[in-house]
């Protein structure tokens, strides 16, 4: 997925554009507002409904992680369980199974039991993979969601200020955006992570330990700001030069009111279109950073850390890495699908949007 697709400042609906003319020959239907049109468009799209429901289901399933760990798996997924044993068919079986064949070397964690405990088996610390998978999903979705909001907020602020103020402020902010853009995203994210995670982050009264989820949220949220801020800036410049804004200025309306009443609502659609795609991108980024040990820190889990745990068990217990891998793929696919439909609906140039 490329965020460049959305750089066209005219891509999204201009909320001040008159609604399409009613069909000739009939009674003129009351015009629908842009938001209601968008909602109706989403409801009438099977792809949007299915992907939306899928995302909702995933979020709900992950939210059940504490209940699953406590009442079903009956385990603490953050504690090593190297000496743990479970009952299978009336026999107590060690979770870490020592080899008795050949030279008798090696220890392999128990595989999927498909029962309440160790449903997906254990990882190399003897921890319940299913419980960690749910907790990991919770963290992955939370980090990606929060990073998306942070990114959109920062991008909106930078884009609107740069686009509306113009002049020197625009030049400074645009160059800053270009500077950050010049860094490859992953290289920047990894560098920031290493600096911030190496030791606890201290800035004035703010203290964040390396295990805090806020660090990956901030890192992931910031690295994508230029990718959203630039199209937002372009959109703001276009709106600022539109007739209704010029008219408002001519009438002596205060800039803050113009920003709030005319510019922000028009930029909002751009931001909304970005949201699901950015969230999908953030899930992948978070997983990549955690896989490289520079995202979520142990004993916390995310889909990325479970992928890393599974890497060492790829041959004997592939399900440990397959589960988060499939979850990432499905979630990202659903978010992208939902984002595509949303963009089509909010884009006045697209067939669906008309």
């Amino acid at each position: 997925m490329s965020l460049y697709e959305s750089e066209d400042p005219d891509m999204t609906t201009d909320l001040d554009t008159p609604p399409p003319a009613p069909p000739a020959g009939g009674d003129p239907a009351p015009p629908l507002g842009p938001w209601r049109r968008a909602l109706r468009g989403l409801a009438s799209s099977p792809a949007a409904v299915l992907s939306g429901l899928g995302i909702l289901l995933i979020v709900l399933a992950m939210a059940l992680a504490p209940a699953y760990a406590k009442y079903v798996a009956k385990t603490d997924p953050f504690r090593s369980g190297l000496s743990a044993k479970i009952m299978i068919d009336g026999t107590r079986v060690p979770v870490m199974q020592r080899s008795t064949e050949g030279l008798g070397l090696g220890v392999t964690p128990i595989g999927p039991t498909w029962g309440p405990q160790y449903f997906l088996g254990a990882d190399n610390q003897g921890r319940d993979v299913a419980a960690r998978f749910l907790y990991g999903g919770q963290n992955s979705l939370f980090i990606a969601g929060a990073a998306t909001l942070l990114c959109l907020a920062c991008a909106a602020l930078v884009g609107i200020v740069a686009g509306y103020a113009g002049g020197a402020i625009d030049a400074v902010l645009s160059n800053l955006i270009d500077m950050i853009w010049a860094f490859p995203v992953y290289l920047l994210a990894i560098s920031l992570s290493i600096v911030m995670l190496g030791k606890s982050f201290d800035f004035g009264p703010i203290h964040l330990s390396s295990s805090s989820l806020i660090l990956p949220i901030v890192i992931i949220g910031l690295v994508y700001v230029p990718y959203v801020a630039r199209p937002v800036r372009g959109r703001v410049i276009a709106i600022t030069n539109s007739e209704f804004v010029l008219a408002a200025r001519a009438l002596g309306i205060r800039p803050s009111r113009i920003l709030w009443r005319h510019i922000l609502p028009n930029v909002a659609t751009t931001l909304i279109v970005f949201a699901p795609m950015l969230m999908a991108l953030n899930i992948v980024t978070e997983s990549s950073l955690s896989f490289l040990s520079v995202g979520v820190q142990a004993p916390n889990a995310s889909w990325g850390t479970i992928l890393q745990d599974g890497q060492a068990l790829l041959y004997s217990r592939p399900v440990v890495s397959m589960a988060p891998g499939i979850a990432i793929m499905v979630t990202v696919m659903l978010l992208n699908l939902f984002g595509d439909v949303l963009r089509d609906i909010l884009d006045p140039k697209s067939v669906r949007g008309r």
């Binding site: 953050f78 504690r79 090593s80 190297l82 000496s83 870490m96 020592r98 080899s99 064949e101 050949g102 030279l103 008798g104 070397l105 090696g106 220890v107 392999t108 964690p109 190399n124 610390q125 003897g126 190496g198 330990s209 390396s210 295990s211 040990s293 820190q297 142990a298 004993p299 890497q311 060492a312 068990l313 790829l314 041959y315 004997s316 217990r317």
Partner: protein
């Protein structure tokens, strides 16, 4: 002009001629068979390199294994497999030294005609310069192995101006080197056999040479080295075998060592015939499969080694002995054995000296039923000690190496620390810097995972080196006493035991057993387990030999 030969030399030449005639006259001989295996390239892989290539500084088993065929000392451990590998044999010296002056003076006569890989002659001047350089670069064992040489104290105080006046005396014309000690040291020949006493060209710069190879006298030389990528080792063109025991001519022509990737990838490479050996232990879950599908490619060898977790006794909360003891009570050593691959590969321990090592007596105080062996963790006692110390909630970071076993142990320790009420985190550092990082007190490492492989078969090599005051150098990357423990009383007992070894080794070993117990009472480290060496070789490698000190003797192996 025909040189005049002495009767002995005539007899020796005659014997050699007879032997050659015999070899030439009869079918396939040993020499021919060995000659058939000469050539080829050995491909080694490792997750990471181990930093500097400088033999006077590097203190890792990974590179010491290479130094065995790159460098020589005056004496060295015999390069053979089995029990004989602990025997010290003359190397650059033509015979074992003459020991006089009540064990305080060692006189060596150098072999003639030995050249460094750059073509220059190895002389007595190089020997003196090399001993001076050990102090000038402040090598990690300068203060523990070689501090008994006369003049060493001055060198330790002012390394740059080290002369070792009166300590190392050379006679260039006669080719002799005399080393004077301040006191008899029964372990001195062992210490001279370590790579830190390698003889290097006298013009070698007196600073860490880093990735730049230093010419040596061994059968091979390093052609190129990139710590993040690879090392290429080729035959030393100036090498002529002078002693098969000390420095045998290797079989392969080239050794390519690749750094990077994972243990999983290394196992796959070996099984697919793309690599011949991996330095790291194969991952625990792959071992189960390999032990049934490729048992002939796996070699298990007992190690005089110790996996342990040093606790910094000078940093909170480990500056409180109760916290250190609590963690020793709390860890499940059986679980740690699982992380390393099970009981066939590791044996739980709760003391410093490895089993069957000089001075070892079975003892374990950090277990549910204190006695001779570990049985189970005692969480109640651990929790009580933590409560008593009032350190609950303190932040602790475990620094691990970036490999499966070390990471796994780090995660496990974090879990145990959390159970005890601490705010624990794990920091994983690349293997090529972790060892020096955890030694430097400036990095304020509280708890780390490390390993210790015997340099030579003596108790002091574990206890005195790892917990002696002389091994603690605050602010240095070469401070092998990672715990920072310096207990004057125990230190004096260690020095006395070393001295006693000169006259009565059995009595000294008994003292070492008591010192081992005394150190463990102070609990400066968590003994984890004694590992077995696992060597996974490709099917094309033959003549596997394992030395307890050099491990797999790479130069003694051949490839098809």
């Amino acid at each position: 002009m025909i040189p005049k030969l002495s009767p002995e030399r005539v007899a020796r030449r005659a014997a050699t001629a007879l032997a050659l005639a015999a070899l030439a006259g009869f079918g396939p001989t040993l020499a021919q068979a060995e000659g058939d295996h000469r050539g080829g390239t050995l491909r080694l892989v490792s997750v990471s390199s181990q930093g500097t290539l400088d033999p006077h500084i590097n203190y890792t088993s990974q590179f010491w294994q290479l130094y065995a065929f790159l460098y020589d000392g005056l004496v060295g451990f015999k390069k053979v497999g089995g029990a004989d590998s602990k025997e010290v044999v003359p190397d650059l010296a033509e015979a074992m030294p003459v020991i006089s002056n009540d064990g305080k003076t060692y006189t060596f006569t150098l072999r003639k005609g030995i050249k460094f890989s750059d073509g220059s002659d190895m002389t007595a001047t190089d020997v003196l310069a090399s001993f001076q350089r050990i102090f000038k670069v402040l090598g990690p064992t300068a203060g523990t192995f070689y501090n008994g040489i006369v003049g060493a104290d001055t060198c330790l105080a002012e390394p740059a101006g080290c002369t070792l006046d009166g300590g190392v005396i050379i006679d260039e014309a006669a080719g002799t080197v005399t080393i004077n000690l301040t006191a008899a040291d029964p372990e001195f020949l062992f210490k001279l056999s370590a790579p830190h006493a390698s003889i290097l060209p006298s013009e070698t710069t007196p600073k860490d040479n880093g990735n730049e190879p230093i010419p040596g006298t061994g059968a091979y030389m390093v052609k190129s080295y990139d710590a993040n990528n690879s090392m290429v080792i080729v035959r030393n063109p100036a090498f002529k075998e002078w002693s098969k025991d000390a420095q045998p001519d290797g079989y392969v022509d080239e050794i390519d060592y690749t750094f990077g990737g994972t243990e999983e990838a290394a196992v796959n490479a070996i099984m697919n015939g793309q690599a011949d050996w991996m330095f790291d232990t194969p991952p625990a879950d792959r071992l189960a499969e390999l032990s049934t599908t490729a048992p002939d490619q796996i070699h298990l060898s007992p190690l005089a080694a110790w996996w342990y977790a040093p606790m910094n006794v000078n940093l909170a909360p480990f500056d409180d002995v109760r916290v250190r003891q609590a963690l020793n009570y709390a860890i499940d050593r059986d679980a740690l054995v699982s992380l390393f691959g099970g009981p066939a590969l590791a044996q739980p321990v709760c003391q410093v000296l490895p089993p069957e090592f000089p001075g070892h007596e079975d003892q374990c105080i950090y277990t549910q039923d204190p006695g001779t062996s570990w049985s189970a963790p005692d969480m109640e006692k651990a929790q009580a000690l933590v409560d008593e110390s009032g350190t609950k909630g303190a932040k602790i970071t475990v620094v691990t190496e970036d490999n499966a076993a070390s990471r796994g142990i780090g995660t496990y320790l974090q879990s145990v620390l959390s159970d005890l009420g601490y705010d624990a985190a794990v920091q994983t550092i690349s293997g090529d810097i972790q060892f020096t990082y955890i030694q430097n007190t400036n990095n304020k490492v509280q708890l780390s995972i490390s390993q210790w492989y015997a340099d030579y078969p003596a108790a002091s090599n574990f206890l005195n080196v790892l917990f002696g005051c002389d091994s603690f150098h605050p602010g240095s990357d070469a401070s092998i006493n990672i715990s920072g423990m310096c207990d004057q009383e125990i230190d004096a007992r260690m020095k006395a035991a070393i001295a006693l070894g000169a006259t009565d080794q059995a009595a000294a070993d008994k003292d070492w057993a008591k010192i081992d117990a005394a150190v463990m009472e102070k609990s400066p480290a968590l003994p984890l387990f004694t590992p077995q060496q696992v060597d996974l070789l490709s099917t094309r490698v033959g003549n596997y030999q394992f030395s307890s000190l050099h491990h797999w003797l790479i130069a003694n192996a051949w490839v098809q």
